[in-house]
Symmetry: C2
Subunit: 416 residues, 2 copies
């Protein structure tokens, strides 16, 4: 959390700089005037499809509500259409953004002091931060080109067991990971599921970027869609596919677990008990607007996100083209600069021959008017010192082009 303060400080000191920092979605596609329509769509659904009386509709909008949410059936239907995930509505928990989903899942799953959460290295800070708040030990597992390295995972699990610990779950973003942009291949997904079964691990699959592929038709199934043994807890977000301000996410937690009182129950029910003491329930108003969006788009967010997907795809194309053009292969090899070419998502990894640290970031913002995130921020165990994360989700096409030029001028000045 502290490291991000430096980035925020740099950003506020250099408001004119182009920032490849924030991973938030592009705002130009949000339509404020549609909020009322979405609310209407939801209330019509309550009235016409579910036969609710006006008084019941009022209760559902204004009163305390069901802890696990009131749009769980709408979310389940959409998940089925978009991802082929068969989730019983009762196994869904609607949360205050995906962050609360991660938080309550960790709290419910990690009961013993010996329980350890496995995280990729580098890793999204939302999960490591939540683990820290709950005093949950994390163990980093290196990411390879295909995502989590299965052999490294096996070794880490064995070492933890030998030390008397219980590796409980692995957090993973299979599609266009934050921060690296890496996407797991289909065989790698199957291998990971097998490994989870062999090693008795749960997989916490986080999927905020899966819709945003670079070319159409290359959708890969989520781990949850491939999961035949309830090894996967699916962490869903509407922040990028609808909008972040609603703060609506969800967890698919269809595992059968034993409650503290000995009863067999769904993990979703245990999450509900935790959630009741964190936020009571997800705001009805937010659920109504997101529910209305799902209804309006025929329970298919993938198609509804065509325009957004095209926008992000174009930004990624433009950035990669600019970098290719400004730093042709021979020149970048000579300088020791390289980058990956993700098949989608919001992020790209750029590797330098020199440290991509706060000092370089400061010079970058001051002298070149361009901001990025040091990749080292995302390493729980040190690492990534020569890398930067470039995020292209919140910039226009022109800003990406201009930003690429500024970035190259930074590199040319410093990497020789």
């Amino acid at each position: 959390m502290e490291v991000m303060n430096f980035l925020n400080e740099i950003t506020s000191r250099h408001p004119e700089a182009i920032s490849f920092g924030p991973g938030r979605p592009y705002e130009g596609l949000f339509k404020a005037e549609r909020i009322g329509d979405y609310l209407d769509a939801y209330t019509h659904h309550l009235r016409d499809d579910l036969g609710r009386t006006p008084a019941e509709v009022r209760t559902l909008l204004f009163q305390y509500g069901r802890t696990n949410g009131q749009i769980h059936h709408l979310v389940a239907r959409t998940l089925h259409n978009d991802e082929g995930i068969q989730a019983h509505p009762e196994s869904l928990v609607v949360t205050v953004g995906c962050q609360e989903g991660m938080f309550i899942t960790l709290r419910a799953l990690f009961a013993r002091p010996s329980d350890v959460l496995l995280v990729p290295s580098p890793c999204y800070i939302g999960i490591t931060g939540a683990a820290r708040l709950l005093n949950i030990e994390t163990a980093p597992v290196p990411e390879g080109e295909d995502g989590i390295d299965p052999e490294a995972l096996r070794r880490t699990v064995a070492a933890l067991r030998a030390a008397g610990k219980r590796p409980r779950a692995l957090y993973v973003i299979p599609d266009f990971s934050n921060p690296t942009g890496i996407r797991m291949t289909l065989p790698a997904r199957h291998r990971l599921l097998e490994l989870a079964e062999d090693e008795d691990l749960l997989l916490l699959e986080d999927n905020p970027y899966g819709f945003f592929t670079r070319s159409t038709g290359t959708h890969r199934p989520t781990l949850k869609a491939l999961d035949t043994r309830r090894r996967v807890i699916y962490l869903g977000s509407f922040a990028k596919t609808c909008f972040p301000g609603a703060r609506v996410g969800y967890v698919v937690a269809d595992q059968h677990v034993r409650a503290p009182d000995g009863r067999q129950t769904l993990l979703a029910e245990e999450l509900s008990k935790v959630k009741s003491m964190v936020t009571v329930n997800t705001p009805a108003l937010s659920q109504a607007v997101i529910g209305g969006m799902l209804i309006t788009h025929g329970f298919r967010l993938r198609e509804a996100n065509d325009e957004a997907a095209g926008f992000y795809r174009q930004n990624l194309d433009v950035l990669l083209d600019c970098l290719d053009h400004l730093l042709p292969a021979s020149r970048r090899q000579q300088a020791g600069i390289r980058w990956n070419a993700p098949e989608g998502g919001f992020f790209l990894t750029l590797t330098l021959p020199i440290p991509a640290d706060n000092a370089l970031l400061e010079r970058s913002a001051r002298d070149h008017g361009v901001i990025w995130t040091p990749m080292s921020y995302f390493y729980p165990d040190g690492g990534g010192r020569h890398q930067m994360r470039l995020s292209l989700s919140s910039l226009t096409r022109d800003q990406v082009t201009e930003g690429a030029h500024r970035l190259v001028s930074l590199l040319e000045r410093n990497c020789r």
Copy 2:
């Protein structure tokens, strides 16, 4: 949490019963058609008062937002008007209901394993449940007629210190406590503030019911309004004064603390770090609607709640009158039945000569069609076995009358 399940089960098995169980606000005063007006009032405020452009307004409604909230200045203004509390907007954290406020406050304040939270006995389960999730030890302090007994508090603190613990804060609802309905006198408030100073304790003041006094003109200052030494962290809720479905609450945390990195900072800033890993930020939409309500009501919720206050006052009057009439003084003395006559709020305590336990509750629902909450549910350390909590907030006047008759028939059958 488990005990409440029994109550919920009884309630769903006996849908026709009149329930003095739930502490939620009456729904008849909610106006669904006003949501759009409140949203408009807020966006006009952003545009006209704060000079925001349409693009900035869109960002504020749809994008990720400031962790500590975006209506903090509106809340501060309302708090000043309604309670005479002088809170700098920067010391406010807008939360997903008061529950998140309690949760993040506990997480930020209780750093060492030896830190102990003092709670009244009986106590609202939202705070003890949050403490349990965070593995924070609680120590009960008995409530007397005037609220927390200062001598008992002093003894508890001394005993904890002698055992090597650090009593860190006391949770308290000075106005019409949940579950008992007790209200602290003005001298008792001053005594508690002095004691907090003497014993180096923080006071977590929760005030959901303060507006709902039985007769006008008997407003008493909150602890926070009397607090000259920043001993009080004020936990605010809009669930009863606006509506619960927005899930908007707040914390006034104006204490100067030392951050883990050694810097002096506001406690609100530390809460912000915790909140960023729990819910990121409170939904913009919920904040916009509540902000719009504050603006619409001229930053004065007390007057705006006149109708609601009248409703609850009438219910309390009706219930007390019915009980008085049906069980006159001589008869109830003979039977060993008594109740308190709170000056406001949602709750009343009824004391019986027999156990007010789950068995009696079951007979009450089945044979008499009336439901209530065993007071024992609220005792962290056992106690309250002969008492019930009666809540009158979600019933109509006729239901209160009929419910009182059913209750008396239960008492007459069982208390002899």
